[in-house]
Point group: C2
Chain length 226, copies 2
DNA sequence: CCCGACTGGGTACGGTGTTCGCAAAGGAGG
DNA sequence: CCTCCTTTGCGAACACCGTACCCAGTCGGG
């Protein structure tokens, strides 16, 4: 029922000038999240980082979720869309995918965002427009193109999640525990294929970057049946 | 450092017989989550549903996250793997995808689970084994097959998320707010492709089921370059 | 000029995960 | 059988969380 934050003016003109701003608050939250994850972004911590009282944040933001919306849209702005489009739709889509992957690398807490449950902001709109622009030459229904952009974004987030869970030190404990469990329970009799996998050397593989491009190409091909 | 719950025996033999069990606790959590989402699964509520004291749960589970691990593995058990494999690897993989999609429909809170951050349990192992079994006929490195299973699972979760966010009533408010924002800000001059999309009728499309199959086929094809 | 809307923020409420300490229970060894 | 000693259940407490309320102080528009 209530309007989203993007429709509420930041300032009405009346009263004393605000001491902070949505932008500064979002930046403080992003700094916290970059350093310690999304769970570390609490109203008290953000307010503390700004030297403000906790309750003051609610003059700028109706709820913590809105703060997160602000943060998400702020980092989405790093993509600096719109950008020119080459005309090769697959190349342009891959470029968007690479951009987004870089974003996830810079802000790992973004994998903790549930897309769809979060409100879209101006930079999110620009992102969607860029995605549709990349696919504009294709003769497909607009809805299918939007689905393709959503799928592209989702698959990039899957890659980011995977990359993160294999590298991050915060999940190292859990990985070690899981590895110990697997070692204890995976026997060739009960789980032949898994056991064979542990036996085979963990070769370097085709390189994550090439895999990334190949998966996205295949995905978009399937979605837009080019 | 600490062993995962799956390596800790539920009972040592000493002392009085436990009044509850991991299974019952997980079932209580699942009931709560099915009805009201993962956020409703709190130690106090689960304990209350069982008629137990809150602190008692910690005799069965080291942490709330472990309770969630229990819940995830319990619902994974609904898949009842292993199942026979037909020999047509794509058909078998699609079958697994459909099974998983059904699981998400029965337990929508599963989309709130961050895969990889959660510890895998016995039924999760069985799931992976089933996935590898489906791909066993393919002459590809075991690592690539595991990646394919992970991607398959991830894409299914994306579909589930999408299906949920367009249907669920709990997100209706946010959707309405976003729709109002888009209506206010998307003009043909600034966002031509998005504006065109709103202009075009929202035709029924090719059907979500057919899309699902097509995307997964394309994805696995790209991953396993068949 | 001054009224009224706005800002900052201390305090408080109800919720959360988790720890501690203790009373009671009951299997294991003598 | 009897005693120990581990284990169980759990009330109380701690530290944190998001958020609502209220009030004092500060400006801008009529």
């Amino acid at each position: 029922m209530n309007d989203p934050i993007w429709l509420r003016p930041e300032r009405t003109g009346h009263g004393p000038a605000p001491e902070y701003s949505r932008e500064r608050i979002a930046a403080a939250g992003i700094a916290l999240a970059d350093a310690s994850g999304l769970a570390a972004v609490s109203m008290r911590k953000v307010a503390g980082a700004l030297g403000a009282g906790t309750a003051s944040l609610y003059r700028y933001v109706a709820t913590r979720d809105e703060l997160v919306d602000l943060m998400v849209d702020a980092v989405t702005g790093e993509l600096a869309y719109p950008k020119p489009v080459s005309g090769d739709w697959l190349a342009d889509a891959l470029s968007i995918g690479r951009d987004l992957r870089g974003l996830y690398r810079r802000h790992p807490w973004m994998v903790e965002i549930h897309p769809g449950a979060t409100g879209i902001g101006p930079n999110g709109v620009a992102y969607l427009e860029q995605g549709l622009a990349a696919l504009s030459a294709l003769d497909r229904p607009a809805q299918a193109k939007l689905e393709a952009v959503a799928m592209l974004s989702g698959v990039v987030s899957l890659f980011a999640r995977d990359e993160l869970s294999t590298r991050s030190s915060t999940t190292a404990d859990g990985r070690a525990a899981t590895a110990r469990y697997l070692a204890a329970v995976v026997t060739p009799e009960r789980y032949p294929h898994l056991a064979a996998m542990f036996g085979s050397a963990a070769g370097p593989g085709p390189g994550a970057d090439e895999l990334f491009e190949r998966v996205i190409s295949a995905l978009l091909g399937g979605l837009l049946n080019a």
